[in-house]
């Protein structure tokens, strides 16, 4: 279940079985375990194993365990987990795809930074990701082995 003791200000949780359609803009993270049909503009996007996003999303970071369709634009990092599926166009700066993840579509890498300059923010992002993973895994099925970082 969702741990409300964590800072959830500016966040949106779409539980399993919930369908939302329309334009969603939020300052924090959106956790999708249900279905979102429309456009998302957020800082972070977490799509759980049962989650499905159809439409477009413009975020800084994305962590996909379910299905993300049509258009994803991530200014920073995209993590595609083993159960995840990315369809359509993906515009990203850096990406990490676990074995089992599926990409069906066009990828556009916007990494214009040189190797050394890109290394520092990427390391920082990994540290941040771990704490986010804790939030994300608390949302998904605890028995799901892919939920563990």
């Amino acid at each position: 279940m969702i741990d409300h003791t964590k800072d959830t200000k500016g966040c949106l949780f779409v539980g399993e079985g919930v369908t939302i359609s329309g334009e969603i803009t939020l300052p924090g993270a959106i956790f999708v375990d249900g279905v979102v049909d429309g456009t998302i503009e957020a800082r972070e996007l977490f799509v759980g194993a049962s989650g499905c996003v159809t439409g477009s999303a413009k975020v800084a970071k994305a962590d996909i365990r379910g299905v993300m369709g049509q258009h994803l634009e991530a200014a920073e990092h995209v993590t595609l987990r083993s159960t995840g599926r990315l369809e359509g166009k993906v515009v990203y700066r850096s990406i990490d795809i676990e074995r089992g993840g599926i990409v069906q579509g066009e990828m556009v890498c916007e990494a214009a930074l040189p190797e050394t300059a890109a290394a520092a923010p990427a390391a920082e992002a990994l540290g941040d990701e771990r704490s986010r993973d804790a939030v994300a895994s608390s949302l998904s099925d605890p028995t799901d082995p892919s939920a563990a970082p």
């Binding site: 456009t39 258009h71 359509g88 074995r99 599926i102 579509g105 916007e110």
Partner: protein, 134 residues
């Protein structure tokens, strides 16, 4: 605003070049010793090999092999059909493979049809990725 196209690439509905590539050969253990093309090696043409090909030099043309490993200094431009494709350097063109691995520091600018993919952080991929079920 949202959904705005940032580049001039053709829409995804365009005919995919990768679709015409034949399916990669059935997985078979790489026979014999791998063939190695070291740094400084430059060639173009076509290579057909039943084993593992380690490319640390430059090659442009067609490659058919069981396994192709493009090393960190390797550059490959052309069409690749193999069971397993590992990219640590640069690859451009089109490929059809069962297993695709793109490592940190790699630049992949290609249309790839694959069955299984693995990408480590800070690999750069631009192009169309098509998943093929096996």
């Amino acid at each position: 605003m949202f959904g705005k196209r940032r580049d001039n690439t053709p829409p995804a509905t365009a005919e995919l070049e990768t679709e015409v590539l034949p399916a990669p050969p059935a997985p078979a253990p790489a026979r014999g010793r791998p063939a190695y093309f070291g740094p400084g090696f430059t060639a173009e043409g076509a290579i057909q090999f039943e084993g593992q090909l380690d490319l640390d030099g430059q090659f442009s043309g067609d490659i058919r092999a069981a396994r192709l490993i493009i090393g960190p200094t390797g550059r490959c431009d052309g069409t690749v059909i193999c069971d397993s494709l590992v990219v640590k350097g640069r690859f451009s063109g089109s490929a059809s493979c069962r297993e695709l691995e793109v490592h940190t520091g790699a630049h992949l600018m290609a249309d790839v049809t694959y069955t299984e993919i693995r990408v480590t952080p800070r690999a750069q991929i631009s192009g169309r990725l098509m998943h093929r079920n096996r």
